[in-house]
Subunit: 99 residues, 2 copies
């Protein structure tokens, strides 16, 4: 499996419209057939020094393998998401896991 985790920090986290727009964009990614499982969410209520809860939204995608992930990266639905939503975030942090 290949797990692609993306954490997003919004430019304007106080702006509910921005947050909703990014969430809608993340949900649009579910249209990519190569994705096996999608988890979209935000920071849970856990607090410990080793936990980073400062992000605003997160996207965790599971793929069968790296090839499926690579197809997703260049998929028109993903490219449209980046074109439409990248102005909303200040920072992204990604972890890719070969599992």
């Amino acid at each position: 499996m290949f797990v692609h985790s993306v954490y997003f920090w919004l430019k304007h986290p106080e702006n509910q419209e921005d947050r909703d727009a990014l969430k809608a964009g993340l949900n649009s990614l579910k249209g990519v057939q190569e994705i096996t499982t999608v988890y979209i969410g935000g920071p849970a209520e856990t607090r410990r020094p080793v936990i980073d809860h400062t992000y605003d939204l997160s996207l965790i995608l599971v793929f069968a393998d790296k090839a499926a992930h690579d197809t997703y990266q260049v998929h028109p639905v993903h490219q449209e998401f980046v074109a439409e939503c990248s102005h909303l975030w200040e920072r992204v942090q990604i972890y890719d896991v070969a599992a």
Copy 2:
């Protein structure tokens, strides 16, 4: 769902025995009934500035809800893992997602 992602940096990443011991410890966690899905792995071959590939091993656990995660945290199998393996890592970084 509740997704608990842990990234581990080994104290001695060049030591294969340490790596194997941590991997065995991570695999032992599969014995916790409250876990819905387990992904154990390491950095994929993707390289971009926004991707952190510097960790050595990773554990992504999916739970039905926060209550199941909280039970896992105090589960004897998890506590034994921490007691047996925590000397192996230099750093952990955790992201908890309410999805």
